[in-house]
Each structure stands twice: as structure tokens, then as C-alpha cells.
Symmetry: C2
Subunit: 201 residues, 2 copies
């Protein structure tokens, strides 16, 4: 039987998603779990229930940037904001769902490579070209992915996954389910860690 | 010289403010600091920059209630939501600023008693009567506080404190400054704790 998963929902344009993504693999492994990587689109959430990107909000935006930088320094991971941030992340989403080919625990390397390019280096992953460059470095055949990004079934799979995330109650990034228990925010990772250690409370 | 403070901003109607308030005294003492208790009104923030109470927001509201309950269980403190929650907290604010009489580190007992009544017991502290009952149990003379709640200078002091909180960038509850470093949310207490231990990073 496959080990249980941690279902890790995130938007590639989310700095807190990045800061959680670099930690979640080790956390999951410590509890005998695998990560199911579930990219989705915050824009779909805003469309459904309203809202706007964190960094665009008065006061909260400035604080959040400061908190993201402080969190990154403590984790000792680089944090740079890509040009055009917050950016459209649907191409990167599609690449991941295509690469997973039905196994949600696959393609973690691609997820982390996208995030590293976007927030570790401040590079572009909003364009198909940006996505293809990152994928090529992992040995993914460029022409194959280029075709996949335009493939109707890949687009449909991505649409369904985003819809399923919203149906499950996901409204922010990162958002993690341990079985049916929801955890929102990179700041909830220590709570999730204790939850898994104790089997809940 | 007085020891440095942790400036603890909170709305009495904020469950996360309650969950942080029961921890902040011990945290501050561990780092040789005193708590400056700074009640303010989230309503003034919403008026200034928009927004609405957390629990009224779609999806986020349901999640937040669950997260508050989970956080309270882990801390082993009672959590009950008072009738009419979220409630008007200006009377409790005024009582605190009156009781402090210019010393922001005073009246911690009153703050904790209000919070205990509201979220520990699910009782009313939105009315003058609710505020007076809590204060009486601490030995505060009822008639004196009753007059203070109507006193123009107490109202003005409260108005100024709320304005000063907004001017300092406070937009949520709890919101803590360690010197000039801001920390928003009960979930940032462990970060604040490490920040004070290390002298920042």
C-alpha cells in the first residue's frame, strides 16, 4: 500500500508557498508520508470569493513583504521577487500536471525547480519560455513539454485540479491537508509537524 | 531605567488576540521585558483600509474558527465565542486606558480578565454592564469606572491610542512590536520568541 500523503496546495506566484515548499518534503518524510504536489491558481479563488494578492493590500502588503524576507533569512533560503510579481502561473501548473501523469506525488523536482527559478533567483516562470527553460535543465524534452502546454487534455486536467482544490476549501497558499485536517500558511508547518507527531489533539 | 516593552496591540473581539494575550506575559518576562497593553479597534482599520472580520469571510471564516479551536486545544485554554461575536469592544478599551492612567504596562490583569470573560467563558464584555461586572471582580469601584466610561478625556485618550496604532501600521490583532520590529498574528509568537533570543537576524 502506498504511504499516506500530505496534500500540498500552492500557487507558484506565492512567496509563502515557496517558503513552505522548500520545507515540506523533509517534514513529510519525517512522518513517513509523501508529498502530493497540488499547484492551483489563487486567481480562481479571488474570482470565486473575492480578494486580491496579499502584497497588493494596504499595510498588510508592506508587512507581508517584510515578513517573507524575515522568514527567508531565518530559513537561510534566498528570496527575490520576480519582475511582474505577482505573476500568472498557469503554464507552470500545466507543466506539473502533465509531468505527474496521474501520480500526484511525482514531479516534486519540477515544482522545486520552478520555485527556485521564481523566488530563489527572481526569474520568470510566467511565460511558456520561462517554464520550458527550467524544465530543460531537468532533462525534460523541450518540444514535448511545449506541445503539452497547448494540449487540451492538459489544460482540462489543470482546470479540474484547480476546481477540486476550491471544492475542498482551499483559499490560500500554501494550504496543506493531512488526511482531512487543513493547515493554511507557511507559519502552520510547525503546528502540522506537532499534529502528525501526536496524531492530532 | 524601565525595562524595554513588548507593545501588544489587540482588539478585545479577536480570538487570536485572546490566544496570544494568555501567552505574551510569560514570553515577555523570559526576555526581561514588560508588556505594554494596547487595545485598539479593528473596526477603525476596516474603515481606513477596508476589510471585514475574519470569521465573516467566505471559506477563510470557517477555517479560522477551526484553527482557533485547534490552537486553543493545543494551548489547553478554553475557547467559547460570546453571543454577538464579533462584538463592539470600545467600552473595554476605554476601561483599560482609564485604568492604565498613563502607564501602558499597567492593567494587564484587567485585560486578561476581559479576555477570559469573553472567550474563556463566552460572556458579554461589549456592554458597559459586562465591562463593569468584570472590573468589579478585580476590586475596581463600580461607580468610578461607570463615570470613566462616559468621561470625555477617557474617550479622547482611547481615540488617540487607536489612531496611533493605525499610524504605526497596525492592521490586525494581535500585532506586536519588539522595538520597531512588527509581528502580526498569534502564530508569530514563536518567531518573536526566537527573534528576541537571537537579537534579530
Amino acid at each position: 500500500m502506498a504511504p499516506p500523503t500530505l496534500d500540498f496546495y500552492f500557487d507558484f506566484s506565492s512567496p509563502y508557498g515557496y517558503l513552505a515548499a522548500v520545507q515540506i518534503g523533509e517534514l513529510a518524510a519525517r512522518h513517513g508520508r509523501r508529498v502530493a504536489w497540488k499547484p492551483f491558481l489563487l486567481g480562481a479563488v479571488y474570482k470565486k470569493i473575492g480578494g486580491q494578492p496579499l502584497v497588493a493590500q494596504p499595510l498588510k502588503g508592506d508587512y507581508s513583504v517584510r515578513d517573507m524576507q524575515r522568514s527567508a533569512r531565518e530559513l537561510q533560503v534566498p528570496l527575490h521577487f520576480p519582475p511582474g510579481f505577482p505573476f500568472a502561473s498557469v503554464a507552470a501548473c500545466r507543466a506539473v500536471y502533465w509531468r505527474q501523469a496521474g501520480d500526484p506525488t511525482a514531479a516534486g523536482d519540477l515544482v522545486l525547480a520552478f520555485y527556485h527559478r521564481a523566488f530563489g533567483e527572481g526569474g520568470d516562470i510566467s511565460s511558456a519560455e520561462g517554464v520550458l527553460e527550467v524544465a530543460e535543465r531537468l532533462g525534460i524534452e523541450r518540444g514535448e513539454l511545449e506541445a503539452a502546454l497547448q494540449d487540451a487534455s492538459v489544460k482540462e486536467k489543470t482546470r479540474q485540479e484547480v476546481e477540486a482544490a476550491l471544492d475542498r476549501g482551499v483559499f490560500g497558499s500554501p494550504f496543506i491537508f493531512a488526511d482531512d485536517e487543513p493547515f493554511w500558511g507557511a507559519d502552520r508547518l510547525p503546528v502540522l509537524d506537532r499534529w502528525l507527531s501526536r496524531g492530532g489533539w
